[in-house]
Each structure stands twice: as C-alpha cells, then as structure tokens.
C-alpha cells in the first residue's frame, strides 16, 4: 500500500467520523500516469434523501455585516467560490434552489470563520440541471489551484457527477474544522 493509498484511506475514515449523519461514500483513488502516482479526485459523496421544505439557512446569527450574509460575496464561507450564490437563487448556502440537483462531487476550500477564528473545510457543491441563475456572481480564489489539481479548482464545472452537467449555482457546505489554514493565510 502506497503512502497515498494509506493517506486516502485515513482521510476517508476521518471524514466519515467527522461528518456524522452523512451517508458517506467517499471514493478516493489513485491512478498511475507516466510513472507518477497522482490522486484521482474529486470526492464523490452520497446524497441525503430528504428534501426539506423551504429553509433559507439564513445569515450566521453571530456575525454582523456581509461576512455573515450568505447572499454576499464577502460571506466568510465564500473565500474560494466561483459562481452564482445559491442563496440568491431560491436556495441557501447549504441547499440547492427548488428543482435543481446538488452534484455529489465538488471542489474544496478552507475558510476562516471570523466568528470563532477557526479554519473550516468547505465543500462548494454546485447545483445543476437548470440554466445559469445569473444572480450574485462571486469569484474569490483563496486556495484555488489550476485544473490539473482538480479538487482544489473552482474553475471546473463541478456538475460532472449530476444527471445533467448544466451549471445553475454554487453552495458552501461546512465539512468540519480544517487541520491547517490556506496557504494564503
């Protein structure tokens, strides 16, 4: 078992533990290309079955101003987002707008929550299957990397795993605390 394999196994176990309720089916793998071991990401995750009634997750209660407002680009979870904010499109920072499908794979950012000063790992899952929402375009690139480093790249259309790859808007889900800050911090 290579170092990478061991690492992905540990990661999978830890993610499953830390995310609790989620039915976690993280698929991580490696492929050999040109003799170099390179991780094949993104992370595929299971989807929660429930479709809640309208539930605007709403602003972070402990934060004032745009850093606590999920309809603003300055919202703290948006530090590596690239797209239309689902909170402006009938969804929220954690759920897709009515009639759209959350893709099971995403890119990952690490953002500092000004409320507790901690760094959180964020999944920027895209909502898919309907044309561009067009509202609240936001592009911030802390920790963004080129597409040859895909799970860190916000440029990729992350609707790949959904039933239609048409992009509608982006969410910003908390995975858990991050071990380290962004390279940028």
């Amino acid at each position: 078992m290579s170092a990478i394999d061991r690492w992905t196994e540990r990661l999978t176990r830890e993610m499953a533990r830390s995310t609790g309720r989620r039915s976690l089916l993280a698929k991580l793998g490696t492929l050999l290309a040109g003799g170099a071991a390179v991780p094949l990401l993104p992370v595929a995750r299971g989807l929660a079955a429930g479709t809640p009634i309208h539930n605007q997750a709403g602003p972070d209660p402990e934060l004032d101003g745009p850093e606590g407002d999920p309809t603003k680009c300055e919202y703290w979870r948006h530090c590596s987002i690239d797209g239309f904010l689902c909170s402006c499109c009938g969804g929220s920072q954690t759920a897709c707008p009515p009639g759209t499908e959350m893709a099971p794979v995403s890119w990952i950012g690490t953002c500092r929550n000004p409320g507790d000063g901690k760094d959180y790992a964020i999944w920027y899952n895209d909502c898919c299957g309907r044309g561009m929402c067009g509202r609240c375009f936001c592009n911030r690139n802390e920790g963004d990397r080129p597409i040859y480093h895909p799970y860190r790249s916000n440029d990729v259309n992350w609707c790949s795993g959904a039933s239609s790859q048409i992009y509608h808007c982006s969410t910003a889900l908390i995975i858990g605390l991050a071990e380290e800050a962004q390279p940028e911090q």
Partner: protein, 403 residues
C-alpha cells in the same frame, strides 16, 4: 510525494473541538415556501428562464427554464393542479437540426420537472410573449397558439397529458381564456372569435363577433386584461374595448376613452408591453401612458394612470422609479446609498416602464418593469407608494405573471 500529500491534507481534517459550526448535510434541494398572493414570475430572454419572486421580500424563490423562443415563454401556472407549464422548443443541435416542441410540466411546490407533453412543432414565437398559450379555468385544458403555416391552436389535455387536437383558426390569433372550455381570440378582420371545446377537448364551435374595430386605423393591442368572462383591450388610440365572451356570440360590450380631448391634444397615448393591469376587487385599471405620436404604441410610459373602471375616471397618477439607474448601479457594483448612486440617478434619464401587473388580493402589489434591461420595481397598488426594487432580475425581459 510528501509535498503533494501535505497539499491534499490542507483541505480536510477531523473535528474534535466542541464549539465549532456543525457540518452541513449534502445533497439537499429546497421546496418553495407556502404560496402567498404576492408572488410574480419574471421572464429573462437572455438567460432563457423565468424567475419566481416574492414581492414582499424582493427575494428570488426559484427559477424554471424556458428555452427556444425570442423572449423565453412565461410560465403558465395552474393552482388547482399545483402545476406550472412552460412551452419550450428544442433543436437537436442547439440552434439547428430537428425542432421539437414540448409542454414542460413542473410541480409548483418543488419546481421539479414531473412530466412533458410533446406538441406539434408550430407553437407561435412572438416577441411580446403574451397570450400565446393559456390554461383554461379548472386546469383541465391548455391551449397553444400556433403560427405556421396557418393560424391554429393546439388543445392539450392536462389530465391525460396528451394532445387532443389542432383547431384551425385562420385569421385569428392569441388565446384569452373565459371558462373551462371556452376561450377568445382576436382576428385580422376586426372581429373577436369565441372557441368552444367539448368535455374531451375537441372542437365544438367557433363563433365570430360582428366586426367592431379597425385593424389598420385603430387596432386593439394584444395586451388585454381579464375580468371574468370579459376581456379589456385598449386600442392604439386609447379607447378601452370591453369584449364580452359570456354569451353565444362574442360582442363588444362597452367602449370608453382613456383620454379626454384635452389629454389627446397633449399627445397622451397608451403604450408598452403589458401596458394594462386590472384589479377586480377595487375595479382599478392601471394603464402605462406616455406622450408621443403614432407608432409609439410599444414605447415605455413615464406615467401609470389609475382609473376607477366603473366610473371611467382617472383617480391617480403614479410615476415609475428610475429603473435604469438602479440597474446600472447594481451592474457597476455601486452601493445604493452612495454619492455615486445619487449621481447616477441624477444623470441617467428615467426611461419609464413597459409593463404593469397587479396581484389579485385585498392588499395588492403593483409590479412594474422595463423590458430592455429587465429591471423591475414594486408599488403598493392601493396608494401608489413605491416599496422596493427587484434587484438583479437579469439583463432583459418585460413579462410578468402572477401565479
């Protein structure tokens, strides 16, 4: 390889602390909240969709696609079935190839696509986007205006989700529902047509009115508003025609002037896209007007005149908000209360509005919209107080539908 592993580790980690924000569920999509009377659908021809907004909060609640026409056909909501219909045209190669037309069926609560009905690939495509399809009362039948080669309508049974038949209506176009199995049309010879279908949706009878308007000298605009079994149409020259479809044969029930002689001399004129709105409980008629010559019947209006339709008297004048300045401010990323925003509002001319719609309830909202940049605003329809802008609706579109 070590460096690579470190890079990967940055993103993900265990969470042992007690105080941190809880992790989120993955894969959730929202449903709509409980419907209120203050919702409105706004089309967007460039993004080819329609947005559902709450006039009370200004928030976007959801979006449905509307592909394959000039304006993006607006949604056709049906309360009895909790369904919303959109007429769409698809080509096998985007803008080329084989054309197929569909009624796409959405669940009105989840906005999920729950079905489709293929219809003859002749659905009319018209820039104004109005009265090209309609759900008849009771939501059993949907009627689509076809355009090519001759005028006809397609009758769709929404219960069996199938096409019943195509009825030739040569010389007559547009669909104005007046009952469960009855709808009106306007015709090129200055008449109105009443189309009646039977319980299965088949053609029962087509009955024409007497000619009652002049299609060249003073035609009726297509932008009528409904009042029960009557439809009100303004003519280019500003005469309101009340067409009654309740009897065996459609007829002009009434006709009165929206302008006094003095106002006509000052060149006051109707115009716009959805330039009329009618609120039945208060009998208030809202009319977008401007001063201009012949040929300006689609121009935006810089005033909205409010009539008591019973007394046939103008009771109020509402001045539209500076929608273009608000639109450009938002596009430029300028804060609403800034000095620059004030300057933009002062410098950029108020271009008026093309469209008005009013909600049907007792505390009605009046929505207004400019079709060239799609910007919109909300008034209290009772007293004409400006309530808010609807921000970042899109980049074009002038249609509004109260579901």
């Amino acid at each position: 390889m070590l460096r690579l592993a470190i890079g990967l580790c940055l993103a993900l980690a265990t969470a042992a602390g007690a105080e941190e924000v809880e992790p989120d569920d993955v894969g959730r999509s929202l449903r709509l909240p409980q419907r209120t009377e203050h919702w409105v659908w706004l089309n967007e021809p460039l993004l080819k969709h329609a947005k559902l907004l709450d006039g009370d909060s200004g928030e976007v609640l959801g979006i449905v696609d509307a592909l394959g026409s000039l304006t993006g056909r607006h949604p056709l909501p049906c309360r009895e079935r909790d369904e919303t219909y959109v007429l769409e045209t698809f080509y096998s190669r985007g803008n080329r190839g084989q054309r197929r037309d569909f009624v796409t069926i959405y669940d009105s609560r989840s906005l999920e696509v729950i079905g489709e009905i293929e219809v003859p690939p002749r659905t009319a495509d018209v820039g104004h986007g109005l009265a090209l399809g309609a759900v008849l009362d009771g939501c059993r039948f949907l009627v689509i205006n076809n355009q090519e080669p001759a005028n006809s309508v397609t009758v769709v049974d929404l219960e069996s989700r199938s096409v019943v038949e195509e009825i030739t209506t040569a010389g007559c176009a547009l669909v104005y529902p007046v009952g469960e199995r009855r709808f009106g049309m306007l015709c090129g010879d200055g008449t109105a047509l009443l189309v009646e279908i039977d319980g299965a949706g088949h053609r029962r009878r087509l009955t024409s009115s007497e000619p009652f308007f002049d299609v060249v000298e003073d035609p009726l605009t297509e932008k009528g508003v409904r009042n029960g079994e009557q439809w009100m149409f303004a003519s280019f020259e500003g005469y309101l025609h009340i067409v009654d479809f309740s009897g065996e044969r459609p007829r002009l029930a009434d006709r009165w002037s929206l302008f006094t002689d003095a106002q006509r001399e000052q060149s006051w004129r109707i115009g716009g896209l959805q330039h009329l709105a009618y609120h039945a409980p208060t009998k208030r008629l809202y009319s977008v007007v401007h001063q201009g010559g012949k040929g300006t019947h689609k121009d935006a209006g810089n005033e909205i005149w409010v009539y008591d339709a019973e007394r046939r008297q103008r009771v109020q004048v509402i001045g539209p908000p500076p929608l273009l300045a608000a639109f450009l401010r938002r596009m430029s990323g300028i804060e609403p209360d800034s000095w620059t925003a004030w300057l933009m509002e002062a410098v950029i001319p108020n271009q008026g509005v093309h469209s008005v719609v009013v909600t049907p309830d007792e505390q009605p909202l009046l929505f207004v919209r400019h079709r060239e940049n799609g910007s919109a605003g909300v008034f209290d329809a009772r007293d004409g107080t400006f309530v808010r802008y609807l921000e970042e609706i899109g980049l074009g579109g002038g249609l509004m539908v109260v579901p």
